[in-house]
């Protein structure tokens, strides 16, 4: 296991943003992303996923430090104020570091 560390950026936000966020994330240099459907509760109340638009998505991006910072900054500036959104970053060891830029 020949590994290096990268950042794992996780964003949890409203399903309605999926298309826009994915464009932003790719534009800011991520080489990939993974999305799962989720529900939850936060400052903006319950998001129950009773129908499509009322749910959350959970986006994960594995990338280098600079990209993670760029995406986080962009999301914070652009969406944080008006959308249900949280965002956190952790360190992960990856196998093929070149895959993640």
């Amino acid at each position: 296991m020949n590994s290096t560390t990268r950042k794992l950026l996780t964003v949890i936000t409203e399903s309605a943003l999926e298309r826009t966020l994915v464009e932003d994330i790719e534009r800011l240099g991520a080489h990939g992303y993974t999305i799962t459907d989720a529900r939850g509760k936060g400052h903006r109340g319950l998001r129950s996923a009773a129908w499509d638009e009322s749910g959350n998505i959970r986006i994960e991006v594995v990338c280098d430090d600079v990209t993670a910072r760029a995406i986080a900054d962009h999301l914070q500036a652009r969406y944080y104020e008006h959308y249900g959104m949280i965002l956190f970053v952790s360190e992960v060891a990856v196998l093929r570091p070149e895959k993640f830029g």
Binding site: T20, G45, L46, A50, D52, E53, E81
Partner: protein, 319 residues
């Protein structure tokens, strides 16, 4: 008598189960399937009818109805901003919801008139689709003015290519091109099951409505009053437009129902993207928590009575 309609009983069942915090809920995939079937069925039926008759007046009606949608949004904005003293963005967003239409309310209306064997114009589903659009644009203009970056391209895509319009207009076109004979083999799914599927849909609507009551309590009396009075005003406008366009009694009442209804699918999605600073809970609570149940449980018969009365007074105006 109306209350015996099983479709409404399903709504009440959902509402009760929701208020009692039952475990009952439809999976999102089922909700999606059911709403797709309803939208396609409404479109197909409208398309078949459209194909049967000349539609010279159509362009004119479309324009009139778009004007109506814009007017209703402006009206609602006035009330919300100056009577309700809501922030500009919230007033604009809620106004967009009320200038637009609810497919579920329309479907209950179709059911109501079908039960009573009252005909209405074939172009109704087209007007339903058309009505989704202008209020959204008015809402954005009201929130932003003309100055700033409006992301109109994104919004237009969201609206015109949203599920609702694609399925409704797609169904219309298919029904129109294929005609009743070619369509016959797909009627068991789209037409025979229609009312059963509508019943399931209203069960879920009841559950969703119940979930809005919490927010209502938080945002108080004004929203509740608005959610009841606004459709009463809107329906009057809708009925006047129907009369003005020389529609039948059924069509006039249907236009009243459309005017009275408030969107809760296309508009929320569009507003989320173009007026993000508006609180989406407010508009959903009003549209889903107050206006939808009001319309389906007591509004529709009222609008029907209003249209009948108007017809008696005028004998139908028309161009």
């Amino acid at each position: 008598m109306t209350m015996l309609d099983p479709v409404l009983l399903f709504f009440l069942l959902g509402l009760t189960a929701g208020l009692l915090r039952s475990e009952l809920r439809l999976p999102a995939a089922v909700y999606d399937l059911i709403s797709m079937l309803l939208l396609l069925a409404i479109g197909l039926k409208g398309g078949v009818e459209l194909a049967k008759q000349p539609f010279s007046a159509l362009a004119w009606q479309t324009l009139a109805v778009m004007g109506m949608g814009s007017l209703l949004a402006l009206l609602a904005f006035g009330v919300l901003r100056f009577v309700g003293r809501l922030p500009r963005a919230d007033a604009a967003s809620i106004a967009a919801h009320y200038g637009s239409v609810s497919v579920a309310t329309y479907a209950v209306g179709v059911d109501y008139f079908t039960n009573r064997q009252i005909d209405f114009e074939a172009q109704m589903p087209l007007l339903l689709a058309v009505l989704e659009i202008p209020a959204i644009l008015v809402g954005i203009l009201l929130a932003r003015g003309l100055s700033r970056d409006m992301r109109l391209g994104v919004v237009a895509r969201e609206v015109f290519l949203g599920k609702g319009i694609v399925l409704l207009v797609g169904g219309l076109l298919i029904g129109w091109i294929a005609g009743p004979e070619e369509l016959a083999p797909i009627t068991p799914l789209f037409f025979d099951l229609f009312k059963g599927i509508l019943a399931l849909f209203l069960l879920e609507m009841g559950l969703i409505t119940a979930a809005q009551f919490g927010s209502l309590r938080r945002y108080g009396l004004f929203l509740v009053l608005f959610g009841i009075c606004m459709p009463l005003i809107s329906s009057t406008v809708g009925i006047a437009v129907g009369l003005g366009l020389g529609m039948s009694l059924g069509g006039t009442a249907m236009l009243g129902i459309l005017a009275a209804s408030a969107s809760y699918i296309a508009v929320p999605a569009a507003m989320r993207i173009s007026v993000p600073e508006a609180n989406p809970t407010l508009s959903l609570a009003a549209a889903l928590g107050v206006t939808f149940p009001f319309n389906v449980l007591v509004g529709i018969p009222i609008y029907h009575a209003m249209a009948t009365h108007a017809f008696e007074l005028t004998g139908g105006l028309g161009p």
